[in-house]
Symmetry: D2
Subunit: 392 residues, 4 copies
């Protein structure tokens, strides 16, 4: 019998704010009625600033992965070469999907904990005189390792190579939580889901598409055909029945973000993440992220010390403390546990995560001083620290 | 300013029962936690009787259309010939999807209002000595016209032709509301969504797959790959983040159906539909369905009299009476309006639909006697009528 | 196993609108926090126009009856004489409460179906030269019989007798649904609950108090002491923990009423009630109300014909049709059933009530023509009838 | 713009569990229908073990204070002498209500932080040879100071004095969270509310009444008359419209408590409270409670050090950290802040409270070491501590 709040610190689906939850408590409605269309058009409009674009946003029933498939099948053709790096579970799965859909994937494998290998990308783009590379895929925030890469740097590499490839970005665990500037960075396809920075349950893949990408021909497709979505989206409808409670939740989430303002949302994520990292350091542990400059503001993957199985940390959290941490994926299984710190979050929630993680680590065998991580994070969250941060 | 209940009589998404709605009011949860898996396994188990199968059921984030794509890409290959009829908007869209996905679709066009042309199918199957037809597609209930076809008859045609083609069935607006016997009828792929007879919001495509279908090779695929779903489903997980509120709703819906019992659910739909049809007859109007034996127990498409635009009926219902009727689709636009009568429904709701339709029809110009349809349906719903029905 | 909507046609608690329901889906909160006070002050402000007053409104945890006790104990003293009529269950219970609390109740018993006996009141007030009558109690809308009395007429009687008695009004089933002009009518204490015209669940008694009433001394009291409520209400707080979900619901309900506008709310109730009465007439039945001019726009008490037990009508409604009608109370038990038609209501809901009542009446033994009541109400609700009504 | 969870650590209303919240998401219903009565009878039955009684429980719309008035007016008469102590805000308010209702209150004033003065009570009871004291009032848990008194000791004092007075207990912030044995302790009237240990929103006072108390005559009363409640309760109905969402919530709350088992609920409260107190000690601060043996397991009142205004602690918590702590009441204003730790609670939530309180204390000027309180509580919550606790 679990009691009390379930402390949810996975990197998505994230905690749903009260106003979003309330908004989803709806009776069924006619998704072909005149009011529904106007409602959806408002969503499409208000999602644009979250992506940093003035171009177009699409809502794809399913999930972020569905949106990925949509982005590929509508723009590329079987055999098209794409350049991408594998440096975590999600970039690996994305590469697999690209291969499964028939692309010729030129993979750069780097260590799990590294970011996008921009120099290597630059080299290969520069060498691709014939323009065989049709698209470059960048995982903005690798959720498995807590690594954020610079999309702007990849854009510079493309520009310097005067390369015309499309730029695809997986922003599933970044968009809405950290700055994302689609138009400024020249991104052609950016994907996220409803269940991360947008603070809703899953159910929607969300996709921003540049004019350049939209003009591409794409491959054989059915459910995901952009042309079907666009035809309906003009009136705020969908070609397939959409998950309407999530749409209502998204309305409330966008209203929250507008009220907080996007810069404040991003600053909050940065500050809260800094506290989490300070705690990890205070424990004497390391994160999975190879360089501080790559540290993600939405998820931190904590390496357990030798002899301590990260799966035990997670199991103890769940069984004893009604807490949910993210697990280590693939080769990181047992070696890291992850703390998600994105979406509707505040200092108290981060301190809870840290306090519980301390106890779980100890019971799993790690030598961690009780209260040490909490104190380190508190020092970050105290107002004088905040002022110092603001002064940086 | 609308007041009072929105009277929702579209053929899906259908009215959500209170217990389903309550069940969906959940906090976010870890969909990789140990309790979640057990929960999902229970859903997969309890969906089987609804499909009439002991084989396998899959839950596909998205919608019924997503499940359709999943069924095609996992079993057929580009260029494979499939036999299907077009006799309404949804069978037409399905044929389009099959073509878009590269199948060689042998279409039999019959009138919108007719059922599956079983004799013609039998003839073509008999003629297909070389077994070029890899699958036969049957729209069990054509939602656009209110026509229910016999899947069993198609199975007999296949058997009599000793033909080995797969049998695909679109049961989106039938499964859960009328008898469906996948195993008995030898259906290989049957598809529905969460938002019709299963009384939830949309968000899930639901698919039952025969062993024979599962052994097929299929074509290039990503998001919809059965192998990914099956790998995860063994523990009750998903390869892509699922829409968890809908899953909780589905649990409540299945519990309701079990409490009412499936035979009682089907009998209720039959009885309520009979009342709707009696009302249409009392108005002196006709349904879109060409033969009484094909009349659907989940949706009735009512033909407006000459000079009366069915779009006006729908518009008046929405604007004046806070009522939502289904529209005529494609060539039926303006000629029919549809009354959905499936899911969580009772006599009072059907009488509301009829009473409001009478008023809308009159205001749109039809000569309909006030109260006439209501009286005809009441006569069906009164207990003595019910006893007579039971005695049939 | 009940299926479909529960058709709720009791005269309160009434159907809760979606926006109210959504608003009540809240996490627990600190009812001493700074935001809570501002929120409550807004409620107190926006309730005033509903009562037609610029004086003061109080929210009393409990129910309308609790508010009644509050109104008595804060203004009158044991032995004080009050003048009131008994003409239904609720006026009778009110008289009993007044007696229980030690008042000297001068009762005028009139038939159940009559209104406030204004002439008799006038006579007694005129005869009360010494001003022994401290208060006159008027049941604005007797929920048991569907009779609305004129408060303005009682005020005129008081004025003509130049009598200084306080004027108390039970507006539980009228306020928010029909015009109520506290200040114009010189009402001193007016009471309602959250669960009728205000479309929320029960939990709150709502009370408007004139300056004159507030200046009274009252009797011994604890929980209901105005002084405690007023002290806290200045900051928007409560002396006792309030039912906060209902307060949030009330916010949404007041917003709905403001959006529809009060005149439109009242006109809607009048029009819908007219249809109900037309149906009763078409059935060849009578209402409990003795004169058409007294007919309530919020509830209609229908007399069943001789030999037909109204309890059977109600039982059949509940068991067979998932419908809830109000029962005959006290001496009216078995003789009337009541149709509540107040709050968040529209034409379709009223037609449902009528259609189901027809079937229940027949099964209970009444000779009622199917569809007859529905047709009569539809004729009222059709636009041309509406125009005619507007032209009156 | 507040983000993230509101951290609610007031001593009631308490955090509402998910299952309770879900259960309250209901459509309006007929509270005179046959199913409703059976539902309420189940509640009355299942509340008895929570009070430790086999006698009778009553549900009073309103709040705990309403139940207090009900208990007094139904058993005592004006002028009756009652013995009680004032040692905090709530015992003081209770004494005021007793006075307001006309009782002759023999008050023993002790310091705020002391418990019930059992010896003094024993002395007075022994001296009351004529049995003028009709009732003894005991505040089981003084919510303002975090002091739990022994009801059993008062019972022993009564027995030793062979005194026949009724024993009234205010269990608002104890019942459901700590052991309560009404029948064993010979309690005659015990009162709580829905919004504390019972984990629902407020809206209901809950009252257990001994046979002896029920046989008393009482004073003038209206809304609160036991006879009216009992008459209706026999069928599971209410004399006044009850707040039905709260009743549904209460059903879910009782189911939770049964699943956890009452002994486990009590053990959990004891363990979590121990951690809170360890934190206070680690900060070098004191609680308001004068003796460790009186320390409440549901609320801790923390004294701020000289020069630190406790109101600042609370304000900072609310404004900066979206946290709600309880304030110091009456003479304790500015001197204490309170941490509520009752109801649906777990370790993580307590650690959050402590971590945030540390930061608020510091910003308000207290010299508290970051992490110190958290570490102390963690040491209590760790499994080895738990085992040690179990071994005591």
């Amino acid at each position: 019998m679990r009691t009390g709040t379930n402390h949810l610190f996975i990197p998505g689906p994230t905690n749903v704010p009260e106003s979003v939850r309330r908004a989803m408590n709806v009776a069924q409605e006619d998704q072909r009625g005149p009011e529904f269309g106007a409602f959806v058009l408002g969503l499409l409009r208000d999602l644009k600033p979250v992506f940093g674009t003035k171009q177009r946003v699409m809502l794809i029933p399913g999930s972020g992965s569905a949106a990925w498939e949509a982005s590929i099948v509508n723009t590329l053709q079987p055999g098209d070469r794409v350049l991408m790096a594998r440096h975590g579970q999600f970039s690996t799965l994305w590469a697999k999907m690209a291969m499964d859909l028939g692309l010729d994937v030129e993979v750069v494998d780097v260590s799990w904990g590294a970011g996008t290998p921009v120099n290597e990308f630059a080299r290969r783009l520069g060498a691709d005189r014939e323009g065989k590379i049709k698209a470059v895929f960048v995982t903005h925030n690798e959720t498995a390792t807590g690594v954020t890469s610079s999309v702007a740097a990849v854009r510079r590499a493309l520009d310097e190579a005067m390369h015309d490839a499309l730029l695809f970005v997986d922003g599933v665990s970044s968009i809405g939580s950290v700055p994302f500037e689609m138009d400024e960075w020249g991104v052609d396809l950016a994907v996220t889901g409803s269940q991360k920075g947008l603070m809703c349950p899953s159910g929607l893949g969300i996709l921003a598409v540049s004019d350049k990408a939209r003009a591409c021909k794409g491959m054989r497709r059915g459910f995901f055909a952009f042309e079907d979505f666009e035809l309906q989206a003009a009136q705020g409808y969908f070609p397939h029945t959409p998950p309407s409670p999530v749409l209502h939740g998204l309305r409330a989430a966008l209203d929250r973000m507008a009220a907080e303002t996007l810069p404040a949302v991003f600053a909050r994520h940065a500050r809260l993440a800094q506290g989490i990292r300070a705690a990890v350091a205070a424990w004497g542990l390391e994160t999975c992220c190879e360089s501080p400059s790559l540290a993600s503001n939405t998820v931190t993957a904590v390496r357990t010390p030798p002899g301590v199985d990260a799966r035990d940390v997670i199991r103890i959290g769940f069984q004893r403390y009604n807490a949910s941490f993210g697990s280590g994926l693939g080769p990181l299984a047992g070696k890291v546990f992850r703390i998600g710190h994105l979406g509707d979050l505040n200092e108290g929630m981060c301190l809870t995560a840290i306090a519980l993680a301390e106890m779980c680590l100890r019971e799993a065998g790690a030598k961690v001083t009780l209260g040490s991580g909490v104190a380190a994070a508190q020092a970050v969250y105290e107002p004088r620290a905040e002022m110092a941060l603001a002064a940086e």
